[in-house]
Every structure is written in C-alpha cells, then in structure tokens.
Symmetry: C2
Subunit: 85 residues, 2 copies
C-alpha cells in the first residue's frame, strides 16, 4: 500500500531545545563542524487504495491541522510515492 511522508519542523524563530541539546552532545563528541541542529517530525501515512485527488486534499488538510501546530511548526514537505501523479 502506498505511503505518504509528511515532514514537520519547528519554526525557524523558535528555540528548539531538543535540537540545541543534540548540538551540545555533538560538540562534546568533538563534532564541531555542525553549527546547528534542529529536530522535527516525520510522519508516514499508509493509504488504502490509490492516491486520488481526494486523498491529496485530505493529506494537505491534515498536515496543516492535525500533524502540525501552525503556531510553532511548519509543514516543510509532503512526499508522495514515486509513480503517483
């Protein structure tokens, strides 16, 4: 069954404490070439049946209103399986 990927990141102006903690861990390990780390979410949605225009409309809607909080997050990408229009 096709899988659609929705990627959500915290808005650039937010602090992202988890990303900062990861950046700190990398610095302590000597990996100082990484100047910033940000941590977002990656959703995999499995769809039953073909990816119709209705499915695409539903994905766009839930990405904005269910999978992300538009006050603090941006939907940065929605990937459909290759070969789907």
């Amino acid at each position: 069954m096709p899988t659609i990927v929705v990627e959500v990141m915290p808005k650039a102006e937010l602090l992202d404490p988890q990303g900062k903690a990861t950046k700190g861990a990398l610095s302590r390990l000597g990996k100082s070439e990484f100047t910033d780390v940000r941590l977002g979410k990656r959703f995999e949605l499995t769809v039953e049946g073909p990816i119709t225009d209705q499915v695409r409309a539903d994905v766009a809607e839930i990405a904005e209103h269910v999978l992300s909080n538009s006050v603090i997050e941006d939907v940065v990408a929605i990937h459909y399986p290759e070969g789907e229009k």
Copy 2:
C-alpha cells in the same frame, strides 16, 4: 550554509504509540483512508564549510550512534544538499 537532513523512524516491529494515537485522531475525523500512521524524527544538521568526505563519515556515524537508538529505530535516509557530490 549547507543543511544535511537525517530521517529516523521507529522499527517496523515496534508499536509506535504516538503514531497509533495520530491514526486514531484521523479515524475520528472521518479520514479512514489512512490505515496506518508512524511517527519518526527529522534532523536538520547545519554544517560550516563544504561537505567533505570527513563530514559525510561523521554524519553517517552520528546518525547511527547519536541521532538514533539502533535498538528501537532505523536511520531511513540521509539527504545532502543538491549540487554536493
């Protein structure tokens, strides 16, 4: 500065309660075409300077040992900026 993306997902055999909760929310909203939802992480690593072989080796290493827990998670993708070799 170039940004490298590392994508991490819970292993397929794990339950992923956050994904299950999201799936339940979609079903309650009438979006029943989505038969499964899984929730993983998306890291954006900002690198100072060019993406050398050493940077690539470091990214592969930290993706496996810092950004993911190989007991419960898989690194599913590492994306380098376009135009980088």
